[in-house]
Symmetry: C2
Subunit: 262 residues, 2 copies
C-alpha cells in the first residue's frame, strides 16, 4: 500500500458565549468582540466568523410590527389561499420577486436576494419589541453581502485581523428534507471556490469544479447554532486555509437558465 | 442588556492523515483505526466519523471497467444526445430510477437511492485498477446506510466507542451553485433532527422543525475533504451533542409529492 504524506488538517468551531439579545442599532462587531473576549479568544488572520442573520437583522432594525402593515388585495387573496396572516403575506411579497408555490400554510418564493425560500426568510420567532406584546416579524438584512463586508471591516479595524464573515440562515431545499445552514452574506473569503483545472490524486482533472464553500461553512456553523433555545448566533471557525478572494453570497445563486437540477 | 448564561460549545474536525489508496476488499474500519492511531487519536463515545463514499465504494469493489459494459439501445440514444460515452450512460441508467434532465455533457437522474444527482454519482476520477491503464469508473456503494452501519459496528467492536458514521458525497443542487457535502449513508446518529415542539428563546414554538443534521455534518467534513489532491477521505468530528437515534440517509430524501421547493 502506498501512503500519501499529508498533515492532519483540522478545524475548530467555537460558539461564542453569551451574545445578548440584540436590539435595533446595536453594534454587532462590538457584541462579537465582547463575546470573543469573554471566551478568551482573539481573532487571527484567516479566521472566519459565522453570524446568524437574526442578530444582523435585529441590529439593522428589520423588525416589522404586523399592526403597521396594510396588505394589498393580492396579499389578501394569497393569504386566503394559504391560510396565513395577510399582513405577513404582504411582507413576503415585498421581499420577493416571484411566488413559486402555494399550499395551505406554505408559500415558497424567489427572494429579492436571488435564492428560493419559504416565507422569504421572514421569521416570527425570537423577536421582541419594546413592550413585548405586539406581533412582529423579522425580515432578512437589506443587503447581507454589504452587512458582511461592514462587519469584516469593523473587525479588521478593531483587531487588525483579516477575517472572513459569513452571514447564515437556515433553508429548506428541494429533493432533501431538513433545513441546513446556508450563506446569505459573505465577505473576505471565496463564496464559490473554483477548483477547475486542479488535478486529483491520479492526475485526472476534477470533474466537480466549483465548491459551495460559504454554504459548507454555514452548514458547519449550523451544527452549533442549531440549538435555538440556547442562543448561539455566532461561531468562530479556525483552521480553514482559503485562497484570498472577495466572494459574495450572490455568487452562490444559480441563474435559473442554468438550473438543470430543478 | 440581558445575557444568556451558556457554555461555549465547540466542535473539532480532524482530517485523518495518510489513508492509503483503497483497493477492493480492503477493511475500511481497519484503515480508519490505523490512521487514527497514527494521528494519536482514540475514538470516544459521541464522536462522528465522516467517510468519503469513494473509499467505501472502492473497498466494496464498485469499480467497473468500461470495457466490460455493453450499452443498451436506450443508453446509445441518450449518449448521442448528451455527448457522453454510451457505456457510462448505461451504468448511470442502471443506477437510476428516472432521468430528470439531459443537456450536452450533463445527465441529471434520480438515483436508485432516492436523491437527485448528476451522473448518478458515478465518478471517473481517482480510480486505479490493476494495470492502471484501463478506463474505469466508480459507482456509489450498493447500500450506503448498510455500509455506514457495518462501519459503526466494526468501530464499536474494535474500540468499545459508540460513534456515529456519515458516508458523504459531493452533490450539485438546484437554485444554488457549487457542490456541497451531503450524507448518503448514516448510522448511530439522527440524520434528520426533529426539533418540533421545542421552544425558542421567547417561548415561541420553532417554525423550522427538522434539521438536516447529517447533511450539515457532511458539509462540515467537506471543508476538510474538499481538497481532492490531498487525499483526505475521512474526518473525525468531536463535540457534537446529539440525541441518541438510529437515523438513515434515506430519511433525508424528500418524497417528491411533498416537494414544494422544486
Amino acid at each position: 500500500m502506498s501512503y500519501i504524506a499529508s498533515p492532519a488538517p483540522s478545524l475548530t468551531l467555537t460558539a461564542l458565549p453569551s451574545i445578548p439579545h440584540v436590539r435595533p442599532g446595536d453594534d454587532v462587531a462590538a457584541l462579537l468582540l465582547d463575546a470573543l473576549g469573554r471566551a478568551g479568544l482573539a481573532l487571527r488572520d484567516g479566521d472566519v466568523v459565522a453570524v446568524a442573520q437574526k442578530i444582523v437583522s435585529k441590529a439593522e432594525g428589520r423588525q416589522v410590527r404586523l399592526a403597521d402593515v396594510t396588505p394589498t388585495a393580492r396579499a389578501e387573496e394569497l393569504a386566503a389561499q394559504v391560510g396565513k396572516d395577510a399582513r405577513l403575506i404582504e411582507l413576503i411579497l415585498r421581499e420577493s420577486t416571484e411566488v413559486s408555490r402555494l399550499r395551505p400554510g406554505v408559500i415558497i418564493v424567489r427572494h429579492r436576494l436571488g435564492f428560493t425560500s419559504a416565507n422569504a426568510g421572514i421569521d416570527r420567532s425570537n423577536v421582541q419589541l419594546a413592550g413585548g406584546e405586539e406581533e412582529a416579524v423579522l425580515l432578512l438584512p437589506r443587503d447581507p453581502d454589504a452587512s458582511a463586508a461592514a462587519l469584516r471591516d469593523a473587525l479588521l479595524a478593531a483587531t487588525g485581523a483579516a477575517v472572513g464573515v459569513v452571514i447564515t440562515d437556515s433553508h429548506g431545499r428541494p429533493f432533501r428534507l431538513g433545513t441546513v445552514g446556508v450563506a446569505i452574506g459573505v465577505a473576505g473569503i471565496p463564496a464559490l471556490w473554483d477548483r477547475r483545472g486542479e488535478a486529483d490524486l491520479y492526475g485526472y482533472r476534477l470533474q466537480h469544479t466549483d465548491v459551495g464553500l460559504a454554504d459548507e461553512i454555514a452548514a458547519a456553523a449550523g451544527l452549533l447554532m442549531g440549538q435555538a433555545a440556547e442562543g448561539l448566533p455566532a461561531v468562530l471557525i479556525r483552521g480553514l486555509r482559503l485562497p484570498p478572494a472577495e466572494g459574495r453570497a450572490t455568487d452562490l445563486v444559480r441563474p435559473p437558465e442554468l438550473d438543470l437540477y430543478r
